[in-house]
């Protein structure tokens, strides 16, 4: 513990309580204490605060660590940096090319697409914390869910499989959006981490795009327009893992 030189009595008191004083200052304050019962009581109370904090919170150090903390180090196991590097370069080029071709469209086009990830992340924030009613229709009625949402969106849609990432379909719901009805599919892994896929119809101004990254609060999202639909995958995954899921969804839905 490093030693500090207090510049007034208050600092002397705090540093004494936290054992951050040199021998001379310790002698100084202990002399003050013997002549001042109120000061002695105050110091005793402060020391008691520290002791109680330890009593209260030290046991937490012996609690088991949540298993999902292991996901933090996942990159360790599969050193796929170079694949990710190649993928991001490819996406960058795709984005640049797309950017070149859509550069003449007015800014309204761009703003419309920007609305898409915002609607999706807002819906994600509203429904993901739900414990009892995260979805309107459960995954055990997937056929019905797909038929219903396709009918409301006026386009044939599917719920992609994300099992290879450890995520299973929980179900889905119908939502409003700036272009009319939208669908939200929710996925969950074993540790309760949830992803949502938001799908709505394309507005007239929107063109096909590559994957775009969007971040709001602690959520990462990738969005893209493909055919008549706009898609957003949102979740608390790191950017590269989420991009992998976006690729998988894109591959499954464009076939």
């Amino acid at each position: 513990m490093s030693i500090i030189a207090p510049s007034n009595t208050e600092e002397l008191i705090q540093a004494y309580v936290d054992s951050q004083l040199g021998p001379e200052d310790i002698a100084r304050i202990e002399k003050l204490i013997t002549n001042d019962p109120a000061l002695a009581q105050k110091i005793k109370d402060y020391q008691n605060q520290n002791a109680l904090m330890h009593e209260l919170y030290d046991p937490i150090q012996n609690e088991p660590i949540p298993t999902h903390f292991n996901d933090i180090y996942a990159e360790n196991k599969n050193n796929r940096y170079w694949i990710k590097a190649v993928a991001s370069i490819a996406l960058f080029l795709l984005g640049s090319v797309t950017g070149w071709f859509i550069k003449d469209y007015n800014t309204k086009t761009y703003l419309n697409v920007v609305n898409l990830p915002q609607s999706a992340t807002q819906a994600h924030m509203v429904y993901v914390p739900e414990v009892k009613h995260p979805v309107e229709v459960n995954a055990d009625q997937e056929q019905h869910l797909i038929k219903w949402l396709s009918k409301r969106l006026g386009k044939s849609i599917k719920a992609p499989k994300l099992d290879s990432f450890g995520f299973q379909l929980v179900g889905g719901r119908l939502l409003p959006s700036d272009t009319g009805p939208a669908a939200q599919f929710m996925y969950e892994n074993l540790t309760g981490n949830r992803l949502t896929l938001f799908v709505r119809t394309r507005s007239d101004a929107e063109q096909n795009t590559a994957f775009h990254y969007y971040k709001e609060k602690q959520m990462n999202a990738f969005y893209w327009i493909d055919g008549n639909l706009g898609y957003v995958i949102v979740g608390n995954l790191n950017r590269s893992d989420l991009l992998d899921t976006a690729n998988t969804i894109y591959e499954q839905l464009s076939l």
């Binding site: 500090i4 605060q49 150090q61 903390f69």
Partner: protein, 166 residues
């Protein structure tokens, strides 16, 4: 440092970070989110960490930034925060410990942070100054005001409750 060594270093720090985060957030779920975010940041930035410097202090700095951002965001949703602070009652704890917990929850997050860094984590004032990005003098004056506030709250909560009669 190799990835394996990094993973081990961070895992060794995890129990300590969880103790601090629980005391800081006063909420089991929020605290594990905070620790997970903190470790993720550290893991992502491991290459930029100067070997030989104080890993624990670095982790506390990351945690400080995450916590400040969170509390800033939560100020927009005050209702959720106040309702979330009630679920940390531990059984088998003495009344004084429960009092301390309740009173800590009443402090401003910034004040609670300083009290915990000094009293629970036993960090030096210089380290706390670096972690919270404030001068040592500010750390010490916040500490002295915070401890006195906590002391008053504790003595209030130990007095018998007055029943108001209408």
């Amino acid at each position: 440092m190799k990835n394996k060594a990094w993973e081990k270093k961070l895992k060794d720090q995890t129990p300590g970070l969880r103790r601090y985060a629980r005391a800081l957030t006063q909420d089991a779920t929020a605290s594990d989110d905070l620790v997970q975010d903190c470790l993720t940041r550290a893991w992502e930035k491991r290459d930029s960490w100067a070997e030989g410097s104080n890993l624990r202090a670095w982790l506390f700095s990351i945690m400080h930034n995450l916590f400040i951002n969170n509390t800033r965001r939560q100020k927009l949703h005050q209702n959720h925060v106040t309702s979330a602070t009630t679920d940390t009652i531990h059984h088998s704890h003495s009344d004084t410990m429960l009092d301390l917990e309740k009173c800590l929850a009443k402090l401003k997050p910034e004040t609670r942070e300083i009290l915990l860094l000094a009293g629970l984590e036993n960090l030096s004032y210089k380290e706390i100054a670096v972690i919270t990005e404030s001068p040592v003098g500010t750390v010490m004056s916040r500490l002295s005001r915070g401890r006195e506030e906590l002391r008053n709250l504790m003595s209030d909560s130990q007095k018998p409750k007055l029943v108001s009669i209408k």
